[in-house]
């Protein structure tokens, strides 16, 4: 299989138009002859399913939650970028494109990112027409705010619940198509395998999470919209059920996994309070618009933050990055938080936190202004920590948040398996080594509303697909494999819980494949993960049975996959002998301590092909060279 990125020729600004002019179309009355499976109902999945159903395709939609509305996109807080230039501050499509390419540290595909910027404005139009209650000015028009990594205000928002409102917009469009009979809806179903028949993706195998029944579903194409793999770290801002299983099982059927080591660690999360902690909570980075990040100048300063005088505080981001200050990109902010806490200047009971202080903003703009802008975030912080952020600075610390890596896709969002498309966070395509804030919602909706409706039609219109019934050998084999995997998990009957294994994996990943990495640590991580995986299959205890609702059985299958993915993440991080975006290798940094890329040798997408041999997991690396025709590669600087 080849890594043809399938990018149209010509000027960057013409590429998408050119593709639209050239694609195959499926005639309106023929669309009803095609069946499309959409897995996941987040921004990408719900918007794709709704848009395809509107066009007339027969859609089957699957999600693991009890309702499509609960997909984890719902938790995105801060906003969505678009190049509308409503504030008249000089934004253009080019600038949004440029900021995104630069923010990703030049490790994404120019053409994809430009298309994303081009589509961004249509997403806002679409969402407003659906009734998404974005923030507005007193004149009734839309309001904007600024976000990290940009010098213009291009972020649209709905208080601190932008993801919720955009997802509900997509979910409502989706429910409308259920009502019209164009979507068959399968909540509480988990995809366990992809069926590849005659070299093409032709169906999936699922488990009904209520009855435990394993079923086959046939289709002409499969769209994977299943989100990211941040839960490989156990603790992350992801929802507890977010997982890599659907993507990983596609990978084991031949889909290449690209750039798995690119993991975004978000700088503004509520710090961990104890070992029992089950997840970390993000505080939107929009808070950095008005909050100032600091630690005491002295080590182990145990005074109440309000008792530390101004001259004894180190506003380290403002000091080191005068032009971007507190609004440096996420990777830069996270790394610096790690440095100051490693120096012993961290705050709070654990010493693993820095302050985010609103006192100045409250004094300057008034408490009402802060409440209007961030009220729900302040409340959430108060509930979780029992500390009032209006009265004392928040304590924040980085946490795993988003994965830029994912299944490899071409310009049309198709993986290297014909008929398998991958949308949203599940693919690798648009964010390179680091994603800018307010760009995930943009990408999920761009893929679902405005890319896949065209590129899927192109595929279906250009292929001669034979009929599948679901009784072909590939379906039989996939179903048997899914059942055997479940039986195997239940039959270990060991003495260690799934959560214990997941926590141990998470610790290895955080310590050695986390904010900063080095060769020694990565080699240790690979060995430790292999050992942990062997131990898992000898000692895991999965309670209950397969034929009914069994949460811990679901988790067991997902942790088994994380135990394989974790090793690949470490291997990718080890092979990438440079620092790029969120992938920071201690050995490769500038004199100022910034990420040092090696464009000569590593300006490529690392796409891994799975080769399981006698129980050993092996991967072959394929490289897609990144050509930069339109932007000049620079050392990122936010000074």
């Amino acid at each position: 299989m080849s890594l043809a990125s399938n990018v149209p020729e010509g000027d960057l600004k013409e590429k998408w138009t050119k593709r639209l002019n050239d694609i195959n179309l499926v005639a309106p009355n023929n669309k009803r002859l095609y069946n499309v499976i959409v897995v996941g109902t987040g921004l990408a999945g719900a918007s794709a399913a709704a848009s395809l159903a509107e066009l007339g395709y027969n859609v089957q939609s699957f999600c693991i939650q009890d309702s499509a509305r609960r997909a984890h996109s719902i938790a995105a807080q801060g906003g969505i970028n678009a190049a509308k230039n409503y504030p008249n501050d000089g934004d253009t499509i080019w600038r949004l494109f440029y900021d995104t390419i630069k923010g990703g540290d030049y490790r994404s595909r120019e053409s994809n990112v430009y298309r994303l910027a081009e589509i961004s404005n249509e997403i806002i139009d679409q969402a407003v027409a659906q009734g998404v209650p974005f923030a507005r000015e007193y004149g009734g028009l839309l309001a904007n705010r600024s976000f990290g990594g940009a010098q213009v205000s291009r972020t649209f928002y709905a208080r601190g619940q932008t993801g919720q409102q955009l997802l509900l917009g997509a979910y409502q469009a989706f429910m409308k198509e259920i009502d019209s009979g164009k979507i068959d809806y399968y909540p509480r179903h988990e995809m366990l395998d992809l069926v590849v028949h005659n070299g093409k993706a032709r169906g999936i195998v699922t488990r009904d999470l209520v009855s435990g029944e394993i079923r086959r579903h046939t289709a002409d194409a499969v769209l994977l919209c299943t989100g990211g793999y941040g839960n490989a770290y156990y603790l992350s801002t992801n929802a507890k059920n977010s997982n890599v299983t659907a993507a990983w099982r596609c990978h084991k059927r031949g889909a290449y996994f690209a750039n798995p080591c690119y993991v975004q660690i978000h700088p503004t999360c509520i710090p961990q309070s104890g070992d029992y902690q089950s997840k970390l909570t993000l505080m939107s980075e929009s808070l950095r618009n008005d909050g100032r990040v600091w630690v005491p100048k002295d080590k182990n300063d145990e005074r109440h933050p309000n008792d530390i005088p101004e001259e004894e505080r180190d506003y380290y981001l403002e000091r080191k990055y005068p032009s971007f200050g507190n609004l440096v990109p996420r990777d830069v902010a996270s790394r610096n938080a790690k440095y100051v806490t490693d120096e012993g200047r961290g705050v709070g009971e654990t010493g693993k936190a820095v302050y985010l202080d609103f006192a100045d903003a409250i004094e300057r703009r008034g408490r009402d202004y802060i409440e209007e802008k961030y009220g729900n975030l302040f409340e959430m912080y108060h509930k979780i920590t029992d500390e009032n952020p209006y009265e004392r600075p928040m304590r924040i610390f980085p946490a795993v948040h988003y994965t830029m890596g994912g299944l490899w896709v071409d310009y049309n969002l198709m993986s290297n398996i014909p008929g398998l498309f991958v949308l949203g966070e599940a693919n690798f395509s648009d964010h390179g080594g680091n994603r800018l804030g307010a760009s995930a919602l943009m990408q999920g909706l761009a893929d679902g509303y405005f890319v896949i409706p065209y590129t899927l039609g192109d595929y279906l219109g250009g292929e001669d697909l034979d009929q599948v019934e679901g009784n072909e050998e590939a379906f039989e084999e996939a179903e048997n494999y899914a059942q055997e995997h479940i039986d195997k998990l239940l039959n270990v009957e060991g003495d260690k819980t799934v959560v214990e294994f997941h926590q141990e994996l998470g610790k290895i990943m955080w310590d050695k494949v986390g904010i900063s990495r080095d060769e020694e640590g990565l080699k240790e991580a690979i060995k430790e993960i292999q050992e942990l995986r062997d131990e898992f299959w000898e000692r895991v205890r999965v309670p209950g049975e397969s034929a009914n609702y069994n949460k811990y059985l679901e988790f067991a299958g997902r942790v088994a996959d994380f135990l394989e993915l974790g090793e690949l993440m470490a291997k990718d991080a080890l092979h990438r002998e440079e620092s790029a975006g969120c992938h920071f290798r201690e050995e490769y940094q500038t004199e100022e301590g910034e990420a040092l890329r090696n464009d000569e040798e590593f300006s490529y997408v690392a796409a891994f092909e799975y080769q399981g041999l006698n129980g050993e997991i092996q991967h072959e690396l394929h490289k897609e060279n990144l050509e930069f025709e339109f932007v000049e590669l620079k050392q990122r600087s936010y000074k």
Partner: protein, 252 residues
């Protein structure tokens, strides 16, 4: 320093599936930190049960930050527990007295059948939404966003209703098991916006009828729903729903 050795006597509803009879089972919990979330306390219980070869307690959750609406426990008789405007995933053990008895039950309503233990089937909510909880806008057909101005006051009010997380606490708390707050919140959100006015009549009628068809009861103004709503949706949503419904059936 925080207390990390609290003890509790838990009485938890156990039920094999929708067809079986359920019953309370008692568990004693030790070593609970006051900084643990309520769900983390249940995680800890399950870890102990699994290690002992016993069956864990099944309950629904996902985001654990109060926005997905999956968590759904009645704690000591109150949907989402004792803390106001707080879903149970954001409830912390510091809200309880050391040594206290805690009774944990599922949402109880005919329209929300039990799946297992504390997990219920809320698909009726999806079907109410499918009956009109949307503005029909085909992808690609939207006008430029700022051609639709919305008074800030209306936009803010619409947002307050749109913030519903669809958890179903309103139904669990209502003596009639009514879904009026949930349905009213969506009808109010959409009817307050100029984009939503075109389909308002059909929307109100179909959603209200679907709500009845699903077996939810009528609203008789107890306001229990507003009291337990984790995001503070106002009962004025129900008044708006009634107004929208009356207007739809009287002005034909």
């Amino acid at each position: 320093m925080s207390n990390d050795n609290m003890q509790f006597d838990l009485k938890i509803w156990k039920q094999e599936d929708g067809d079986s009879q359920g019953a309370f089972q008692e568990y004693h919990m030790e070593g609970v930190s006051e900084d643990m979330s309520f769900l983390e306390m249940l995680d800890l219980l399950n870890e102990k049960l699994i290690k002992n070869g016993d069956e864990p307690v099944e309950f629904d959750y996902d985001c654990r930050e109060g926005i997905c609406g999956a968590c759904s426990l009645v704690v000591n008789g109150i949907a989402h527990g004792p803390k106001e405007e707080t879903p149970v995933c954001e409830l912390y053990m510091r809200e309880f007295e050391d040594g206290q008895e805690i009774v944990i039950e599922p949402w109880r309503a005919a329209a929300f059948p039990v799946i297992k233990d504390l997990v219920v089937d809320r698909s009726a909510f999806d079907r109410i939404m499918a009956a009109g909880g949307y503005i029909s806008t085909k992808t690609g057909s939207a006008p430029e966003a700022n051609t639709i101005a919305v008074d800030k006051e209306d936009a803010d009010k619409a947002f307050d209703y749109a913030t519903c997380i669809g958890c179903g606490a309103c139904v669990a708390a209502c003596p009639n098991s009514s879904a009026s707050l949930f349905t009213g919140a969506k009808i109010s959100h959409l009817s307050l916006l100029p984009q939503g006015k075109h389909e308002r009549k059909e929307r109100a009628v179909r959603m209200v009828e679907q709500m009845e068809k699903e077996g939810f009861g009528d609203c008789s103004n107890h306001a229990e729903c507003e009291a337990v709503c984790p995001v503070g949706i106002s009962i004025s949503a129900i008044a708006r729903m009634r107004k929208e419904y009356m207007r739809a059936v009287t002005e034909s």
